[in-house]
């Protein structure tokens, strides 16, 4: 039998491709953007998934939220404001540098430098003292029961990152070095970021040989790539397309609650009808969130009564949303002195990529119009919105915002939204400030939970926000991966197994 050279070449090529496919355990992730920073004290949420693969924290969370050792083997409270961490021995950075207590101190000092990007994470930390080569004391303002949980975010970089000229991490970003399960290979802006497995990781080498974050800004394209096998993992599947993915024989959808609370914030520090509690309550009575969730979001969200999530410590199931009652809303408005209705300037950010964000707000605006409350929707570019909310406080009297609950604890979201001077807070209630302070510096979890339960009653009664919902996250996962979601919504691929 004669075999034409063309056919021969083709079969060799096919063999090569299938052979490589078996040997290669590359996980390709469809990502919206490149990260903006890979410095462990500077990278923000956009780079989070990539940084989680390259760096380890002092501690880490299991997928179910249990706190576990990581670079720190153990920790204990040695006095009221000092936590002592024992550092794991024999850990090497990707470039061969060794990890010890001095390196950890350098990272903590860097984190608490004023104006450091991720400084809020270390807001209770006052300093770090090296006890011996593998022991370090971290001191806090007062007793901080959450410090070991916060330490999941204390990512550790090598001492050499300080040698960066100008100390702006430009050089370090070009070749980030950590201790994590994956090592940096290359970053082609707008194309992809490639990491390879770290065979010497202290927790064992990951099964995946490499991770590739492919930059695909358009969500529809991400989905098309998933069902054609071009990528193995995407983060946001549109509810209407779940069936399409599940029927593709290539991938499936994994659904889990996100840890993000969506809410509408009312400013009480500027002149507006929203300074009147009755107007804020009228707005709460005037929105039928269930109908919006069922229709616009196809049911893939859970309504919230306050910004506190059901998974959080001290969630109070007895605090429920204001019922939808347009009649009561009109009465309250009239009582407040606005029988002919009010107009409120409202800011939002259409480009943040949350599911049907603009549509939800338009539906809310329409419902409120029905009870005499006119929301003027002003769209803001994301960077400008950040500046106006966190920076110069020039945001309009009502605006849409969101906050992520870390390690199942409501401390940061409640401080952020309701404490005097909190980063997204435009209210001042001395009573709330006092309760938040008592809960923050308290080691008894049951006492803390009780304070948080009481707080939710006040937050609802004062109608400080119009709480919205928390979305279900719909991950699209290739059938060749055995991947489980985490309660904190972070993405780790170090433990991901391949199905045979």
């Amino acid at each position: 039998m004669r075999i034409s050279p063309g056919k021969l070449a083709l079969s060799i090529l096919l063999l090569l491709i299938t052979g490589l496919g078996l040997a290669q355990k590359d996980i390709v992730i469809g990502a919206d953007t490149n990260g903006e920073h890979y410095d462990p004290q500077r990278g923000l949420s956009g780079s989070a998934h990539i940084m989680m693969a390259m760096f380890d924290g002092l501690t880490r969370l299991d997928p179910d939220g249990t706190l576990r050792p990581s670079l720190a083997e153990s920790w204990e409270l040695v006095n009221n404001n000092t936590w002592r961490f024992t550092i794991r021995q024999g850990v090497k950075f990707h470039n061969g540098e060794s990890l010890d207590a001095n390196v950890v101190k350098l990272n903590i000092d860097r984190l608490i430098t004023p104006h450091q990007t991720r400084a809020s994470l270390g807001s209770t930390v006052t300093g770090a003292t090296v006890v011996d080569d593998y022991t370090i004391d971290i001191t806090t303002v007062d007793t901080d029961p959450l410090l070991p949980s916060k330490a999941t975010g204390f990512l550790i970089g090598p001492a050499s990152m300080e040698q960066d000229p100008d100390n702006d991490s430009t050089e370090f970003n070009r070749h980030p070095i950590g201790t994590g399960p994956f090592k940096f290979v290359e970053d082609v802006p707008g194309e992809y970021i490639r990491l390879e497995a770290n065979p010497d990781h202290w927790n064992g080498a990951p099964e995946a040989t490499s991770l590739t974050f492919r930059i695909i800004p358009d969500r529809s394209v991400q989905l098309a790539e998933l069902i054609s096998g071009g990528v193995d993992f995407i983060e946001n599947v549109t509810p209407e397309l779940i069936d399409l993915v599940n029927r593709s024989d290539v991938a499936h959808v994994v659904q889990t609650g996100s840890a993000i609370s969506h809410t509408i914030v009312f400013r009480q520090d500027v002149e507006s009808p929203l300074q009147d509690k009755r107007v804020r309550q009228a707005i709460n009575y005037g929105v039928d969130i269930d109908t919006i969730i069922d229709n616009v979001l196809s049911g893939y969200a859970t309504p919230l009564a306050t910004v506190v999530l059901p998974i959080a410590l001290g969630y109070n199931p007895d605090v429920t949303r204001y019922p939808y009652d347009p009649e009561r809303a009109r009465e309250l408005l009239a009582e407040a002195g606005y029988p002919d209705g009010v107009a409120i300037e409202f800011d939002f950010t259409p480009s943040i990529g949350e599911l049907y964000n603009t549509e939800v707000l338009q539906a809310i605006a329409r419902q409120l119009e029905g009870v005499g409350i006119k929301l003027h929707l002003n769209s803001l570019e994301y960077g400008i919105a950040i500046q106006r909310v966190y920076g110069d406080d020039t945001v309009n009297p009502a605006f849409r915002w969101q906050w992520k609950t870390w390690y199942n604890d409501p401390d940061s979201i409640l401080y952020g939204f309701f404490s005097t001077g909190g980063s997204a807070s435009y209210v001042s209630y001395p009573e709330i400030d006092d309760m938040l302070h008592r809960a923050r510096y308290n080691l008894d979890n049951e006492e803390r939970a009780q304070i948080y339960r009481d707080l939710q009653v006040i937050i609802k009664e004062e109608a400080i926000h119009l709480p919205l919902y928390n979305l279900q996250t719909l991950y699209g996962v290739s059938d060749r991966l055995d991947w489980q979601p985490r309660v904190d919504g972070r993405l780790y691929f170090a433990q991901t197994k391949f199905r045979d």
């Binding site: 969500r219 549109t238 950010t349 259409p350 049907y356 549509e359 570019e381």
Partner: protein, 281 residues
């Protein structure tokens, strides 16, 4: 002038262009009488209904969008704002660009240098960056959006007008006018402008479509106008998230943008043929 009109009426390009533009213009003028629904009326239970020929409701000929708003009514009302943006941006940027270009080209020397360096500066900024910077200072709104788009799109007119004005400056008829002691403004207005207008009309026609699409980009980023005002660009952009399972929220406004831009280009060709002195027989 009547000569030009007569030529236009006889020009098949111009007539075809008017036919393509007619629906958009009719929508823009008569939206409140033509539209079957309020464009902002939401019926959440009727969301994403397909057009009537794909099994939708007779009450919504072109289907509904993600909030159950009538697509046909949104397209009809959208014509108003989209055309206003397209035309206003082109008029403002065209006037500004032509003025700068003709002055620079005719006078030359230091004025030319100064104006062209300003043009270079504008060229050096990416469109979005400039728009971001301006919109960060101004409040988002329809007229501010028009000003931003005009400010970022006058440069092509200036460059073309300058080159053509320079070339014309050396021609015999301009030299003759100068010899007859005509004032510079009169020469620019009577001898130079008519000879370069055809190139500018061509640019303007392209820019109308570009402005309609740029509006949608800026509105998507939150720099444009309120989502309560329907425009074609915005409707198209909002429908993008549904493209894989509902084609109509993007495709229908897209078709209207296409037809309108095509119509404007044909009209532009017709006007060029009728007015360009070089094509006079």
């Amino acid at each position: 002038m009547s000569n030009v009109l007569a030529k236009l009426v006889r020009s098949p390009l111009f007539i075809a262009g008017v036919i393509f533009l007619a629906p958009a213009i009719a929508f823009a003028i008569g939206a409140q009488w033509i539209a079957p629904h309020d464009p902002n009326e939401q019926v959440l239970s009727l969301r994403l209904r397909p057009p009537v020929w794909q099994g939708g409701d007779a009450g919504h000929l072109l289907g509904t969008d993600a909030l159950g708003r009538d697509m046909l009514s949104r397209v009809i009302y959208g014509a108003r704002v989209s055309l206003l943006i397209g035309v206003a941006v082109v008029v403002i940027s065209g006037l500004l660009g032509t003025l700068v270009g003709v002055l620079a080209g005719y006078f030359g020397g230091w004025l030319d240098n100064l104006l062209m360096r300003i043009v270079d500066t504008f060229l050096a900024f990416p469109f979005l960056l400039l728009a971001l910077a301006v919109m960060a200072v101004l409040k988002p709104g329809l007229w501010n959006l028009i000003m931003v788009l005009a400010l970022t799109s006058w440069v092509p007119y200036a460059r073309v007008a300058r080159v053509r004005a320079r070339a014309l400056k050396g021609t015999e008829f301009v030299e003759a006018a100068q010899a007859l002691a005509a004032k510079p403004l009169a020469i620019m207005g009577r001898h130079i402008l008519p000879n370069i207008s055809s190139s500018l009309v061509v640019i303007a026609c392209f820019e109308i479509g570009a402005a309609m699409l740029a509006e949608s980009t800026l509105s998507f980023l939150g720099l444009g106008i309120s989502p309560d005002i329907p425009t074609w660009g915005m409707t198209l952009n909002q429908g993008r998230s549904y493209l894989l399972f509902a084609w109509w929220p993007t495709t229908i406004p897209g078709i209207f943008i296409l037809l309108t831009v095509f119509g404007v280009n044909l009209v532009g060709d017709g006007i060029r043929d009728a007015t360009d002195p070089r094509t006079r027989r």
